[in-house]
């Protein structure tokens, strides 16, 4: 196990290096000089020189990268031009909203997708399976942000049970927090549930065909017991991997959902920073998203190896 952990951690080094390189060069995509883009066309040469020296834009590119990387390794992600404060502080202040909605969305999606996908597979080709597959298919074809708008029209405008937008921390006011994050979390959760339902269904179907399931049936176990004791345990292991990958989907989807529901989270910060040309913040956010995504998937892989010892020896 320790050797497996070490190997997986070492694999991350080149990936992290590559991620940092791509993130660093993203700012070079800006069509004009970044300093000009930040200041606008009316900038004086003095201002441009100031921006260039503050952000190190006047130095050779490899030097810039090493300088930037050195700061990143000390958790210094630069300063926001618009807010004039360290980007790290901005990100930390916006993190709770994204986490709260994202985790709630994840919970909703798992509560729906695991039973629906499981039942769909066990009762293959029954009416329940048809419904399950229909749900998954519709969910995959539906743009999440449109679902969000429809939910607002139905449950916030026509029947005003939920607020149209806004965010309340569940730690400040639990009931109001849940009420405010319900529609955004359902929006994100349902889109994700569709994909996980499909995956769960095919994983359970695969396990149902294994020899040990036939053996379990053959020795006289009841259908329910076979499913409960043998199928679920084995089928949910690969599903965990999918859930890990879905974290990336939650990140992307949360940008749209936070814009629709005016939630002050990381996604909203990203969109605002793009509108305000706050390039250091966009760059820092991309890096934080990617690193988090990589680490979550490392965690998932380790969990996978704990649950399934065969993985460790591959």
């Amino acid at each position: 196990m320790q050797r497996y952990l070490l190997r997986r951690a070492l694999q991350l080094v080149p990936i992290m290096l590559g991620v940092s390189l791509i993130t660093f060069f993203l700012i070079r995509l800006v069509p004009s000089n970044p300093a000009l883009a930040i200041l606008g066309v009316n900038a004086t040469p003095d201002q441009i020189a100031y921006i260039n020296s503050t952000y190190g834009l006047d130095k050779p590119i490899p030097v810039q990268y090493i300088y930037w990387m050195g700061k990143v390794l000390q958790f210094d992600l630069g300063r926001s031009i618009v807010y004039n404060q360290p980007t790290m502080e901005l990100i930390i202040s916006r993190l709770p909203a994204t986490l709260q909605v994202g985790l709630f969305a994840m919970l909703i999606s798992l509560v729906i997708s695991l039973p629906v996908g499981g039942i769909s597979a066990v009762k293959k080709d029954s009416i329940l399976d048809v419904f399950g597959r229909f749900f998954a298919f519709v969910g995959i074809s539906m743009p999440g942000f449109w679902l969000g708008l429809l939910l607002i029209i139905v449950f916030a405008v026509t029947i005003p049970i939920f607020p149209i937008f806004g965010f309340v921390s569940i730690f400040a006011d639990f009931a109001e927090g849940i009420r405010h994050q319900f529609l955004p979390a359902v929006t994100l959760g349902l889109s994700m549930a569709a994909m996980v339902t499909r995956m769960t269904r095919s994983c359970v179907l695969e396990v149902l065909q294994e020899d040990y399931i036939t053996t379990a049936r053959g020795k006289g176990l009841s259908g329910t017991l076979v499913v409960a004791k043998h199928v679920l345990k084995n089928a949910f292991i690969p599903v965990i991997t999918v859930v890990g990958l879905q974290v990336g989907f939650i990140f992307g989807g949360s940008v749209l959902v936070e814009v629709i529901f005016a939630i002050p989270g990381l996604g909203r910060l990203m969109v605002d920073s793009i509108a305000q040309r706050d390039y250091p913040v966009i760059q820092a956010l991309v890096l934080v998203y990617a690193i988090t995504f990589v680490l979550v998937n490392l965690l998932v892989d380790v969990l996978y190896a704990v649950l399934d010892p065969r993985i460790r020896y591959q």
Partner: protein
């Protein structure tokens, strides 16, 4: 598979139609896709050759503002209502189809071409080059879905071309992986070995023996990708990173819908329905194609 056996002697085209007719979902999917593509072609012709005269005669101009009919609900003259400037929503949805289809086809074409070339080379050459390509693939997969596209589109600035670039930047990876896996599988097949023994050039083996045999998984993958590319494009347009007003795209229409959500539900409902139906069409087509063709082909798990 049975459907193929039922029509063994017919021409290839007849067989394709027979498969489509035998599968209702495939039929529905193809019809939707056909319809949307026809609408998009109509829009291009109308816009380029007639400067919008055709749609104005049938319906309304998608750009014509009307101060007296702002935010009016669906009616006989405006079947899907009007927006905050009094423009006809149906006409704008029809015009918006062009953006979705254009971006979808171009982004899938671009990423498919890049992915195919890189994937075939990585699988065929192998060794150091393959390791290098797979590293890059791993690095790109470390960026979560839409985030990289949003950042790239944000840095490049809002435009149709930049949306295509932003969406293709990561999308080529899935084609490269599928191509590589299939080429690796093919490399040791006997007739490839035979072609090598007969002295075929590398290029001839790739173009004549390998590419035709891995075309099917690519077409299926491309069809499936079209749906998700269209959703992503709408997402970028929704965030204001796509084509700029007054040009209509389904995504930027939804953005207007968000602004008027308490008073004008039709602004949010209908453009989204257009996206949903189009994506469903491509997904039905993709799923049915995957079922109808050889089940042995290697497709990737979706990320």
């Amino acid at each position: 598979m049975e459907t193929q056996l039922l029509y063994p002697r017919k021409s290839r085209l007849t067989r394709v139609f027979a498969i489509i007719a035998a599968n209702k979902l495939l039929l529905v999917g193809s019809l939707i896709v056909f319809l949307v593509v026809c609408i998009a072609i109509f829009v291009s012709i109308d816009d380029v050759a007639y400067e919008g005269a055709l749609i104005e005669r049938i319906l309304h101009s998608p750009y014509q503002m009307n101060a007296r009919e702002r935010l009016s609900p669906p009616s006989a003259s405006h079947p899907l209502g009007t927006d905050q400037l009094g423009r006809d929503v149906l006409a704008r949805i029809i015009y918006g189809s062009r953006v979705s289809i254009q971006v979808g086809l171009l982004a899938v074409g671009l990423s498919g071409a890049i992915g195919t070339v890189i994937g075939v080379l990585a699988g065929y050459i192998g060794g150091k080059f393959d390791d290098f390509v797979m590293r890059i693939v791993d690095i790109l997969l470390a960026f979560p879905g839409l985030i990289l596209a949003i950042a790239i589109a944000g840095f490049l600035g809002p435009s149709l071309t930049n949306v295509i670039i932003a969406l293709s930047a990561k999308a080529w990876v899935s084609y490269a992986r599928v191509m590589r896996a299939n080429v690796l599988k093919m490399k040791d097949v006997e007739y490839i070995q035979a072609a090598k023994a007969l002295g075929s050039s590398e290029a001839r083996i790739i173009f004549k023996n390998i590419l035709p045999n891995v075309a099917t998984p690519m077409i299926i993958l491309a069809t499936m990708e079209l749906g998700s590319i269209i959703i992503s494009e709408a997402g970028l347009s929704f965030l204001g990173l796509g084509p700029q007003p007054p040009m209509a795209s389904w995504g930027n229409m939804l953005n207007l819908g968000r602004a008027h959500i308490t008073t004008a539900w039709w602004l949010s409902a209908f453009p989204g329905l257009a996206i949903f139906l189009t994506v469903m069409g491509f997904n039905l087509l993709g799923d049915a194609l995957a079922d109808a063709f050889d089940p042995k082909i290697t497709l990737p798990t979706r990320r």
